[in-house]
């Protein structure tokens, strides 16, 4: 794909004049990093507040009298029990229980608002239109900005009064720069923060207003990746795909209690069997004992040098100050704390299986 054919974010000009290094991501030209660099942007988000342009993600509106019940035929989450304003992380499943995409479902009162991965947008829209009776409308003239980090609440409250009262995984409409925006208290960094869905033509003004606060900085996709990896959060296409079930992905909690009893979601048979007998593989955290990062695709071996799995996401955690990774290992062969080896450039390097996440999340639950 040539650069001229790439989709541009509504705040593309802001990226360019802020020194962004732009890269192709899911058909969009998006900022990998700005002048601060990945490490400093990561630390800034954990200590102050980072503004992320995630306008490439798919925003979809579902509307219909039985939309929640219909949606439950595609996901294992308990959607019917969602109260107005509340939101839930869930996954679209195929008939084997494999994950087609991960998404956030929000009860926006008179409709359901969902956010899906950019790379899966077309596939997801088709999947929903083929399987849902309700109206499926892609919100194409919207931007999505995420403000993440411990100072997010203080900054956003000055621009969108009332957001401080939102609790983690809840949402509301707020007036921002004279325009109604849909704001959720959520994100994908392990920090407290907000995602702001807004009309595309307001994105520049709102982004600049947020950035006028001295503690807010633009943060690129590079730091977004290291932040979510430290927080133990999955990236679709790396840590999740159509051959991986929620049980294997250690996302068993996305299957609602009522859904476990009543079923009615794709892949029920396989998932029920895995819940009963255990899954063949499991997603775990991996800490290389040395300083060499172990990247995506790195093979994992037990101490008898038998291959037991591979890394799905790996790199360096700036807050942890060391290489970190997550990956899939054979379930029966491994326990938290187990010593393993990772094959990096032909050398077996010592590593430890650890619990996720690598950092303590700072969500605003109370």
């Amino acid at each position: 794909m040539t650069e001229s054919k790439l989709n541009l974010s509504p705040i593309n000009q802001l990226h360019l004049r802020s020194g962004a290094r732009m890269v192709e991501f899911a058909g969009y030209s998006m900022p990998l990093q700005y002048n601060l660099g990945v490490k400093a942007e990561h630390i800034h988000t954990r200590t102050k507040a980072g503004l992320f342009d995630v306008s490439h993600m798919g925003q979809v509106r579902l509307e219909g009298s039985s939309v929640k019940r219909e949606l439950e035929a595609l996901v294992p989450g308990d959607i019917q029990s969602l109260n107005a304003g509340r939101m839930r992380y869930t996954v679209f499943l195929n008939a084997n229980g494999g994950i087609l995409d991960d998404l956030i479902v929000t009860d926006a009162g008179d409709h359901i608002f969902i956010v899906v991965n950019a790379a899966c947008r077309q596939k997801d829209l088709q999947f929903m239109r083929d399987n849902l009776q309700c109206d499926v409308e892609e919100l194409e003239n919207k931007a999505l900005l995420a403000l993440q980090g411990p100072m997010s609440e203080m900054i956003l409250e000055t621009i969108a009064p009332g957001v401080a009262d939102l609790k983690f995984m809840s949402s509301g409409e707020f007036s921002v720069c004279g325009e109604y925006c849909f704001i959720t208290r959520s994100g994908y960094t392990g920090e407290d923060g907000f995602e702001i869905s807004m009309p595309a033509n307001m994105a520049m003004e709102i982004a600049e207003t947020i950035l006028s606060h001295e503690s807010a900085e633009l943060i690129g996709l590079g730091a977004r990746d290291s932040l979510r990896l430290e927080a133990g959060l999955c990236l679709y296409g790396q840590d999740l795909n159509e051959t991986i079930t929620p049980i294997e992905a250690d996302l068993g909690w996305v299957i609602g209690k009522r859904r476990r009893q009543d079923g009615g979601f794709p892949g029920l048979e396989n998932i029920t069997r895995q819940l009963r007998d255990g899954a063949p593989t499991r997603r775990v955290g991996i800490r290389p004992n040395g300083r060499a990062p172990a990247r995506e695709g790195t093979e994992i071996f037990d101490l008898e040098e038998k291959k037991i799995g591979s890394i799905s996401s790996g790199g360096f955690g700036p807050t942890v100050g060391a290489p970190i990774a997550m990956g899939y290992v054979q379930n029966h062969s491994i326990a938290i704390g187990a010593q393993v080896s990772v094959l990096v450039r032909g050398n077996l390097l010592p590593a430890t299986i650890v619990d996720l996440p690598f950092i303590t999340p700072n969500y605003k639950r109370a």
Partner: protein
């Protein structure tokens, strides 16, 4: 007296007699971003020109470092083990990556001097 040459791969080599010290340029470290790990993989080995000698890992990705000339790799900068960020902070001095004994000093003629390298940088920017 030592002289410094530059490659199109954005490496520098400072040559004193038969011994060369190799690192990456300011432009290269800026492109790579925050460096978190360095490994010289061909220590005590003979390498051809343009053969990979070291790996430099940034937060985001791993990049190969090639030898600008042929020679024997005789040492690695041990200080980078605990402070790989020295390549970002001081790429042309304390952030050097490996030392080598040159097999064929005439190969230096194919590299650039500082003025040519600056022109080269302008042409690719």
């Amino acid at each position: 007296m030592a002289e410094t040459y530059y490659s199109e791969e954005h490496e520098w080599i400072t040559v004193d007699g038969e011994t060369g010290t190799v690192g990456i340029t300011g432009f290269a470290q800026e492109q790579l971003g925050d460096i978190v790990f360095v490994e010289v993989i061909k220590e005590n080995e003979d390498v051809a020109k343009d053969e990979e000698v070291a790996v430099v890992e940034s937060v985001k990705a791993a990049s190969d470092i090639f030898s600008p000339v042929s020679g024997l790799i005789i040492g690695a900068n041990a200080l980078l083990e605990d402070a790989p960020e020295m390549i970002n902070n001081d790429p042309l001095e304390s952030g050097w990556i490996f030392k080598m004994t040159l097999h064929n000093p005439e190969e230096l003629d194919n590299l650039m001097n500082l003025a040519s390298y600056k022109q080269f940088l302008d042409s690719i920017k």
